[in-house]
């Protein structure tokens, strides 16, 4: 019996990669200057997490404790490189937008973290589900943080979304504050840290409230 609800709740909220585990802050700061970039990075990371946790879990019986870290790193790097090649060949427009971020995924400690903490101890199906949920939780934070920084920093939301999702999604590109001069601090990495601080505070507040009512 796979605890679907538990895995989903952990990944999306209780044990969220960013909001609870405080991992993956480097790619987080680097890409969340717009919501579109955040979404792109989130989707790609989710795919890599899903595949790498599954692969690690499949091989978990053979891998010994002593060599597990190099083997996990090797598997994750292979998945990232394959993703890069596949995107470049068959989803080239998407690759042009995400190309910069794909090598950054290797530096995402959350992926190694999930391989070590979950996938190496559980069956492939629950591991893949865990990877998917952790990835979606990460995507959620990336998009929210990206949207906060984009609205306050440049007055737009989902700018250039057509590059990422195709021309059908151009309607997402909205100007929230017309004639906005921009607030550069929020577009630059320090703004990311400040906004992340607010986001963490909000999460704690909601948790406290839920504890009281629950």
């Amino acid at each position: 019996m796979i605890p679907y609800r538990q895995i989903a709740r952990d990944g999306l909220w209780t044990n969220n990669v960013v909001l609870s585990q405080m991992l993956a802050l480097c790619p987080l700061m680097a890409v969340t200057n717009t919501a579109t970039n955040g979404l792109g990075m989130g989707i790609t990371t989710t795919v890599v997490l899903l595949v790498s946790t599954f692969v690690v879990s499949v091989f978990r019986e053979f891998i010994t404790y002593e060599v597990r870290i190099p083997v996990f790193v090797l598997l994750i790097a292979t998945v990232v490189t394959l993703t890069d090649m596949i995107l470049n060949a068959w989803m080239h427009e998407l690759h042009k937008v995400l190309g910069l971020f794909i090598p950054l995924i290797v530096t995402n400690c959350a992926i190694l973290g999930r391989a070590e903490a979950y996938a190496s101890r559980n069956d492939p199906i629950s591991s893949a589900l865990d990877g998917l949920m952790m990835g979606l939780g990460f995507t959620f934070v990336l998009v929210v943080l990206g949207a906060m920084r984009e609205i306050l920093g440049s007055g737009t939301l989902f700018s250039h979304s057509e590059n990422l999702l195709g021309p059908g999604f151009a309607f997402l590109d909205t100007e929230i504050i017309p004639d906005y001069k921009g607030f550069l601090l929020l577009v630059l990495p320090p703004g990311g840290f400040i906004m992340l601080g607010f986001l963490l505070a909000i999460k704690r507040m909601i948790d406290v409230k839920m504890q009281k009512t629950g």
Partner: protein, 223 residues
């Protein structure tokens, strides 16, 4: 379960334990995984290599078409490329556009260190060295300040169109702060200064190496 059977299971467990603890087992696992990863990557590389090259050629063609209007040439501009050494001793690929067999346009890339990293620029010229168009191909300048060099953000790069070394004297090739003719941006001077300098150097490169480019092109296209 019989006693003998239990012993057998125990022995098997012990065997499993010992072989997993051997150094050779760790090495085999690591090596096997590396072999597997290598095989998968080679297969991936083989199956995507050609498609990626095709996509990159399309990208190149698209950026060439941005700096040279499509009606200016009727050849396959990606095929007519010559490599010329610039003054710094580095090879530069010059793409040559021809119209009815005569050279009508050229395009090449220049690159230089901007405020936060290299700024790569594609320059398109007509045969006498007038700028047809310039585009910033890639950069990592400050978002909101230095990124006005992109056509997406500002039409500043269009202010170079039509200029050449002949119609614009040396001293005007600078931003207004340095008594030149190009606008700088509020909060970003280094970025436009670099772009102006790069484009000026690009024009000088063409001026110095015009003959090299022509002779190489003729050499490659002589029957």
């Amino acid at each position: 379960m019989e006693k003998s059977e239990k012993i057998l299971v125990n022995n098997m467990n012990q065997n499993t334990q010992t072989y997993r603890n051997r150094l050779s087992y760790h090495a085999t696992v690591l090596g096997g995984m590396a072999l597997l990863a290598g095989t998968v990557l080679v297969l991936g590389e083989i199956s995507t290599l050609e498609i990626i090259a095709e996509r990159l050629a399309e990208d190149m063609r698209a950026s060439l078409q941005q700096v040279i209007p499509a009606q200016r040439f009727d050849n396959d501009i990606l095929q007519d490329v010559v490599s010329v050494t610039n003054d710094a001793g580095e090879p530069v690929d010059v793409y040559i556009g021809t119209h009815s067999g005569r050279i009508s346009a050229l395009a090449f890339q220049v690159s230089s260190q901007g405020y936060a990293g290299d700024i790569n620029i594609m320059i398109g010229l007509d045969a006498s060295g007038n700028i047809l168009g310039v585009r910033v191909i890639s950069h990592s300048e400050t978002p909101g300040l230095g990124d006005k060099i992109e056509l997406d953000k500002s039409d500043w790069v269009l202010s170079f169109n039509g200029l050449s070394l002949d119609n614009t004297p040396q001293e005007q090739w600078g931003v207004k702060k340095d008594n030149g003719r190009f606008d700088q941006f509020t909060g970003a001077t280094i970025t436009p200064r670099t772009v102006v300098r790069e484009i000026h150097e690009g024009l000088e490169f063409f001026n110095h190496h015009k003959n090299d480019i022509l002779s190489q092109y003729n050499l490659e296209n002589s029957p």
